[in-house]
Symmetry: C2
Subunit: 415 residues, 2 copies
């Protein structure tokens, strides 16, 4: 659920001008729906639709960088007016990935059905799919689902839509916020899905954000780009960039609150979007398949490529991740992962602190209270700080642990 409690991580603060709202209502100008169309074997909801009724909508979108981008991603990139998206049509349970020409044609058909359902032109409809790879979409079910969703569209449809885009997610990831800008008050809602195949590079799952603020497409694009760099580009469940990752921001403008470039309104709106996406990305990490804890690694030191490589190496190390799962303050694995990422630098005088306790100083063990440290790493969130020689650069990655649940989900089911 949304409402009180969305900002649950100590690593994200709710800005002073932002308030959490409860309920399923979307910002003015938006309607959404989610229905069960029989694509998921479970019979759970699997087709979602978001429609913006405002012809003057502004939008921005980002997609996975994968070389095996799925047909829906290709269709969005090739056949959409990405700065003016009126609708988003999504199915879960089938990624329509590695499906070739037939898959591309099906994505085009989905876009067409979405356009009919929303009553807008085809190039104003984004198409997203998530689920199993390499299987053709059951188009009869998809089409029936889109039609049913069109009938179910409601200003209160955020919850139904969020449920319909889930796959292995254990819980909904969504928010409803109100932001007081100098020029007036706007609302922002968001829905995300993702629990596996999550990697610390750009758009790593499906994320949909709606607002009634009045922004140009250029401002949408700028703000989305900046905020993604600090949120979904900085998380990892399993280091696996997906074929279908898509993030879409739509602004209806219905509030009449204009957010001009380089204004105080833009700053405040950006702060709200930033906090929203950071917390939402942390929910994805927290829901990492089989995960128990969220880790944050911050690497500081000489230059950006070095600290970036080291932070990702720590976040993606299965040895670090299993230790996090076991609440084991095994800092030797942090040292190993950093060293592996920085070949040829030995001997590396690195410092490591876990939950503020220095455990390694200039490359060697530092005396510390092992019992206190063991208690500190048993919490929900564990922070690792690494200092490399030099100063000035900094990089962080949020990551889930690696536990039996990940193996169970991924070894025993085809996802």
């Amino acid at each position: 659920m949304t409402g009180a409690g969305f900002f649950s991580s100590r690593w994200v603060s709710c800005p002073e001008h932002v308030a959490e709202l409860s309920g399923d209502r979307l910002p003015a100008g938006f309607r959404a729906a989610g229905v069960a169309a029989g694509i998921k074997p479970s019979g759970a909801p699997d087709v979602g639709l978001v429609v913006c009724d405002s012809p003057g909508v502004s939008s921005a979108a980002r997609f996975t960088a994968s070389g095996t981008q799925a047909p829906p991603v290709l269709v969005c990139r090739e056949r959409c007016e990405l700065g003016a998206l009126r609708a988003v049509v999504v199915n879960a349970g089938n990624a329509n990935a590695a499906t070739g020409r037939a898959g591309y044609d099906n994505a085009v058909r989905m876009q067409g059905a979405g356009a009919l359902a929303a009553g807008v032109a085809e190039d104003r409809v984004a198409v997203c799919s998530t689920g199993v790879i390499g299987v053709q979409l059951p188009m009869d079910r998809v089409n029936r689902g889109i039609l049913a969703a069109a009938h179910a569209l409601s200003p209160e449809g955020a919850g139904a839509f969020a449920a319909a885009i889930r796959t292995t997610d254990a819980f909904d990831k969504r928010a409803r916020l109100q932001a007081r800008l100098p020029s007036g008050t706007v609302e922002i809602t968001a829905q995300a899905k993702g629990a596996g195949m999550i990697s610390p590079r750009f758009a790593t799952l499906l994320v949909f954000v709606q607002s009634d603020a009045l922004l140009s497409p250029e401002t949408c694009d700028l703000l989305l780009s900046v905020c993604l760099k600090r949120s979904f580009e900085r998380i990892s469940v399993d280091g696996q960039l997906s074929t279908n990752d898509t993030v879409i921001l739509q602004c209806s403008g219905e509030s009449g609150v204009r957010v001009e470039p380089e204004s105080e309104d833009e700053l405040r709106f950006g702060e709200a979007l930033d906090a929203l996406l950071r917390q939402l990305s942390l929910l994805v990490v927290r829901d990492g398949e089989g995960a128990r804890r969220v880790g944050r690694v911050v690497v500081r030191g000489g230059d950006q490529p070095t600290v970036g490589a080291a932070a990702r190496a720590v976040a993606d190390s299965p040895l670090v991740k299993t230790a996090l799962h076991g609440a084991d303050p095994n800092w030797g694995r942090i040292a190993q992962a950093v060293g592996a990422a920085l070949p040829g630098t030995a001997p590396l005088a690195l410092d490591i602190a876990i939950e503020g306790v220095t455990v390694c100083s200039a490359g060697a063990a530092a005396p510390h209270d092992a019992d206190a440290l063991a208690a500190a790493v048993a919490g929900d969130e564990v922070e690792y700080e690494v200092s490399l020689p030099g100063e000035g650069a900094e990089s962080e990655v949020y990551f889930s642990d690696l536990g039996h649940g990940y193996v169970t989900v991924n070894a025993e089911y085809t996802t």
Copy 2:
């Protein structure tokens, strides 16, 4: 055990001029021992010593590229005559890594004790450690162990030595071979350890090879380098380059069989060493912590960096590895991993075959017998072939699956 059955993988053939021998005997000129010194909490053997009694020994060594190389690696690099190593002293149960200046001093002391025990100069003694990171070596136990090992040295000591270098290994990894060269017959023995923290970059564990062939240090170095590129540089258990990885080849020359550069002898000796190291590296993968199966991914296509990156991405993908564990022919995860490794290339017309069955053609699912494929991936070894556009380059990586055992070993114990 060595003897019949060492060449157990279908991916490595025993060359015609090579025969497997049984027993613990080392090639002429070598003695070895392994003793329990109390470094491992279990009380299992944990100090090993190999000594070559031939003053004219030739040798070669390779080490991890990690930026956090452990003190024993630094001591080998800085204080050893690597082309003429007479002895190798090893402890298991403690990696002497991330131990700083005190750790370096302890590695130097280990080298000194090894020199006393072997009766050779200090710079002729290589030092290796493996085990937990960040804890100082218990030098009294190490020294007593080295002394005891010196008393236990035997030409039949290969088995005791192999047992003493193990950590989380489930079984010994060693071989005893006889190679008929044009100029005469030589013997080659080898002992390896490694089950976790194994990555597809150079020396990724401890490997010791002995032969009675007569080689120059330059030939030793050349052959070791070439053979490692095709064996231990092409495996991955968990993508984690270690702090301590070391490979050492020693040739006593006691057979009197001279292996000259660019001779038929060199070719045959190289073939034997190549088959030995490839099979030994596969045993390490097979013993991957918690692993059930060995995968081989071969990527063919346009250029070497591309096929190399794709092969490693597949081998290190936790999604591919859990599918291998579950005997799930989930080729969509292969496509995803390849795409993630090659950003910006979409749409990528890749072909994928599993156990010779084409499952993906030009980027889309290919019709195949799913039941037959499911049966084929339930075996001990599973082969994945990926073809990218273009031709000429090829890269392979051998990898273990990811199962509950890996999580159990690494989440519940400090290793």
